[in-house]
């Protein structure tokens, strides 16, 4: 493996981390407000489908992005309605959303495009084109750092950079603004927020909405940036890996970036090498492909250390027994 291989792995790490990162931050907003969301997966999927479908129909990736976000937000609001307004079980509502998305996308895709549950291949303005960062060409020949900048960091679509920017933005909103203070408080003790004269319901809906928008971006990137069409169940567990990353990150934005990059790296490695030759033993391909998922289990099983979730997480706010 030479240096360029490494740069290329980093390049695909960034691309593969992006949907995880969006979904992870989406989960962060929702769970910090006390609404647990295992429906990230379903929202990514529904958004992937509608972005690809609308982009294919209109030829505009931006309209596709808008449609993807809108679809994801609708699903987020269903979750909000079930868990905030009707105080239902957040787990059940999330599972329902995942099933709904899995079934609905294939059904509608078949009805609209008749291509076996996929959308047509996207090309041209129906996909996000890559952006070259300033001086990427000029710096390409600088030893070591040049290729890293020009190949790995530069040349991604706008959503990748939006994802990276979302990390400091999330941190700022969460820890430096009034909204963030209240959001964190409502996930810890909604009673405190309520008696301080702030509406618990409105705060939680705001968080769920943000979660919907971010999941929408994750799905949209998946279908129009990473791939060039929607295919059945293309989210492939990313929503769940994002949840694992969220726990690994202890519900903090910068840690979330690290966790998502780690999971992205594992995926990049398993995509690139069909098997890994460690001189003594050869690790078979199936194992390499399973690595990200195995790591998820291992991390969740014990490597996280003590991660305290938001204390009021998963509990609807009920005043009268």
């Amino acid at each position: 493996m030479n240096y360029l291989d490494l740069v290329q792995i980093l390049d695909s790490t960034i691309r593969l981390s992006t949907p995880l990162l969006f979904a992870c931050l989406a989960g962060l907003f929702s769970e910090r407000s006390g609404v647990f969301d295992i429906g990230l997966e379903g929202k990514i999927l529904i958004s992937a489908f509608f972005s690809a479908a609308v982009a294919a129909l209109t030829g505009s990736v931006w309209l596709g992005l808008g449609a993807g976000i809108a679809a994801s937000v609708v699903f987020a609001l269903i979750h909000g309605l079930a868990s905030i307004t009707f105080r239902g079980d957040q787990l059940i509502s999330g599972v329902a959303i995942n099933f709904l998305a899995a079934g609905m996308t294939v059904l509608i895709a078949q009805d609209w495009f008749a291509q076996g549950g996929r959308t047509p291949q996207l090309s041209g303005s129906a996909r996000f084109s890559s952006i070259d960062l300033p001086f990427a060409d000029a710096l390409r020949d600088v030893p070591l750092l040049g290729p890293l900048y020009a190949e790995a960091l530069s040349g991604h679509t706008i959503l990748v950079y939006a994802g990276l920017l979302a990390v400091p933005l999330t941190w700022y909103v969460l820890f430096r603004t009034r909204f963030g203070l209240r959001l964190r408080a409502v996930g810890e003790n909604p009673g405190a927020v309520d008696t301080a004269g702030v509406s618990v319901v409105r705060l939680r809906y705001a968080a769920v909405l943000i979660c919907g928008v971010l999941c929408g971006m994750a799905g949209s990137y998946l279908a129009t940036g990473l791939a060039a069409s929607f295919t059945q169940n293309m989210s492939a567990g990313r929503g769940f890996i994002a949840l694992a990353a969220l726990i690994f990150a202890k519900w903090r934005p910068w840690y979330a970036l690290g966790a998502c990059l780690l999971f992205g790296l594992l995926q990049a490695i398993s995509n690139r090498y069909s098997s890994i030759d460690l001189v003594v033993i050869e690790i078979p391909n199936a194992f390499v492909l399973a690595l990200p998922y195995i790591l998820t289990v291992v991390i969740l099983a014990g490597f996280v250390g003590k991660a305290t979730p938001p204390r009021a997480g998963g509990e609807p706010y009920v005043k009268e027994r």
């Binding site: 820890f175 430096r176 603004t177 009034r178 909204f179 963030g180 203070l181 209240r182 964190r184 408080a185 810890e188 003790n189 009673g191 405190a192 927020v193 309520d194 008696t195 301080a196 004269g197 702030v198 509406s199 204390r311 005043k319 009268e320 027994r321």
Partner: protein, 528 residues
């Protein structure tokens, strides 16, 4: 004549089938301290929560300073100048003091400016009212007394001039309680109006100007404090004559039942909670353990009750008890004649969603009497439970209600009924009357004394000094995981015990509240 600061008219509130408030009317004059008393479940907290916009009344009107005011949520209450310190604090545990205080009252969308301003204002308020607290401390690291200060500061920060305190002294040491009442006096002098809910008649007599009595959701009387007596108030509350003092014969201690030697406990985060406790309890004797919450008394009960492991040597009736091995469970302890009334009835004493008869039957259910081949004989269990519920005067005497539908005092009676009816050799009992009204207290105390008179050993843990002083035959003070010393109730008083609870040994000297606090903070006592 000036308008009342608060006037409530015809307030009613039902929670499902429970009518918590029925057509309540009350007037509170500005610049006074108004007490509200009543049995458990009388509806005191509910009424105040309605005034603070936490619950919405089904019916009724609220007038603030003569103006009819709608209070649909707490924001409206805050705007009307009302502040409330709830029975269970409403603080965000992992936020700092400052963050808790600004929450909901921020100035502008960015925290930097609001936190900066709040810090200044908080400093002024702390000095003005002698409510010193570190603005950057996390709530979870503060003791309950400090947390209460934060709650009061929260209200003052929002410029409340009507302050509601719901059972504020239930968790305080005597020194802290005195300090609180001095602050309340100061607020009153400033013209602020204070509503004080408490079960302690002494506090009512010493601090309030007027008292209202609630019974079963209704306001039954409002009297001037100067024109009433504790005895009269107790009768108004309970509807019969109440014994305010425990009547008991002198103890006649027999053989040692419980002997504890060098008992140590380390908790999950590696902190040593008990640092070598030794004590003895004899048959026919009540040993009272007092201390500020969080100094190891809970752990002591839990180890002895089989809910936690520890090291050291414990014998009951001369037989050594397994503290760490497979025989260290609660069930084995029970078979050895140990009964345990845990400190927290709701999380450890009862299963809140189970029926009363099931709860009273727990721990007995494997008794041969209740077996019917492979099946359990539920009828037999329930009939026995029904008898106990009657004997212990649990109200309502309906064994088909789930535990959560009983008021605090009656939940406690369910636990006491279960444990005392086992006729144990040793009774471990924690906070038997926490948040319980005087009628129920009288009854529970009688039962504990009766057990002692029947020649059983009782280990009593309580934060209530009154209770410790009146029930115990001997008193041990616990501080920071160690026994500070033992006293006889006849040879000590609240002041001395209060100082010992703060870890102060030279109890004959004068000590300021500040000293006491510093000492408590040093030991981390009172936290959690």
């Amino acid at each position: 004549m000036t308008a009342p600061a608060i006037e409530l008219k015809g307030i009613s509130k039902a929670f499902g089938p429970v009518q918590a408030n029925k057509d309540i009317a009350i007037r509170v004059m500005p610049g006074t301290i108004h007490g509200i008393i009543g049995e458990n479940g009388a509806g005191k907290s509910t009424l105040m929560s309605i005034l603070y916009g936490f619950y919405k009344a089904d019916k009724g009107e609220i007038f603030i300073r003569g103006q009819k005011t709608e209070i649909p949520d707490s924001q409206a209450a805050i705007a009307a100048g009302i502040g409330m310190v709830f029975q269970h604090f409403k603080l965000v545990q992992n936020f700092t003091v400052l963050e808790n205080i600004v929450l909901g009252a921020e100035e502008g969308a960015f925290l930097k400016t609001s936190l900066g301003k709040a810090r200044k204002l908080l400093k002024e308020l702390s000095e003005e009212y002698e409510l010193h607290v570190d603005p950057d401390a996390k709530i979870e690291d503060l003791g309950v007394g400090m947390q209460q200060r934060v709650e009061i500061l929260k209200a003052l920060y929002r410029r409340a001039d009507i302050l509601i305190l719901d059972e504020p002294t239930g968790v305080l040491t005597p020194a802290e309680a005195d300090h609180l009442f001095r602050i309340l006096e100061g607020l009153k002098r400033e013209g602020k109006t204070i509503i004080l809910i408490t079960h302690k008649l002494r506090e009512i007599m010493e601090t309030t100007d007027t008292v209202s009595v609630m019974r079963r959701g209704e306001m039954t009387a409002t009297v001037k404090t100067s024109e009433t007596s504790p005895q009269e108030l107790a009768e108004l509350m309970v509807g019969r004559e109440v014994l305010l003092r425990v009547e008991k014969k002198p103890a006649t201690p027999g053989d040692v039942v419980l002997e504890v030697e060098n008992l140590k406990v380390v908790d999950g985060s590696g902190v040593e909670r008990l640092r070598g406790i030794s004590l003895k309890v004899r048959a026919g004797e009540i040993l009272g353990i007092c201390g500020v919450a969080g100094n190891g008394q809970s752990e002591l009960l839990e180890v002895l009750g089989g809910m936690r492991v520890g090291t050291g040597k414990v014998t009951v009736n001369g037989q050594q008890i397994d503290l760490t091995g497979t025989k260290s469970d609660a069930r084995t302890r029970r078979k050895r004649g140990i009964a345990h009334v845990p400190e927290d009835r709701q999380t450890e004493g009862l299963i809140m969603d189970f029926f009363a008869w099931e709860n009273v039957g727990f721990g007995y259910h494997d008794d041969p009497r209740y077996q019917n081949g492979l099946m359990m004989d539920n009828n037999a269990l329930r009939e026995d439970a029904e008898a106990k519920i009657k004997k212990f005067d649990v109200r309502p005497a309906n064994c088909w209600l789930t535990a959560k539908n009983f008021s605090g005092g009656n939940q406690q009676k369910l636990v006491i009924a279960r444990e005392l009816e086992r006729n144990p050799d040793l009774l471990l009992v924690g906070q038997p009357t926490r948040g319980v009204d005087i009628g129920a207290i009288e009854f529970i105390h009688e039962q504990i004394v009766a057990l002692r008179d029947a020649g059983k050993a009782v280990l009593l843990v309580s934060v209530e000094l009154d209770e410790i002083l009146s029930l115990s035959d001997r008193i041990a003070v616990i501080f920071d995981g160690r026994i500070m010393g033992e006293r006889l109730p006849s040879e000590t008083d609240e002041r001395e015990l209060g100082l010992m609870m703060a870890g102060i040994t030279d109890t004959d000297k004068d000590h300021s509240v500040k000293d006491i606090e510093a000492n408590l903070a040093k030991a981390g006592g009172g936290s959690r």
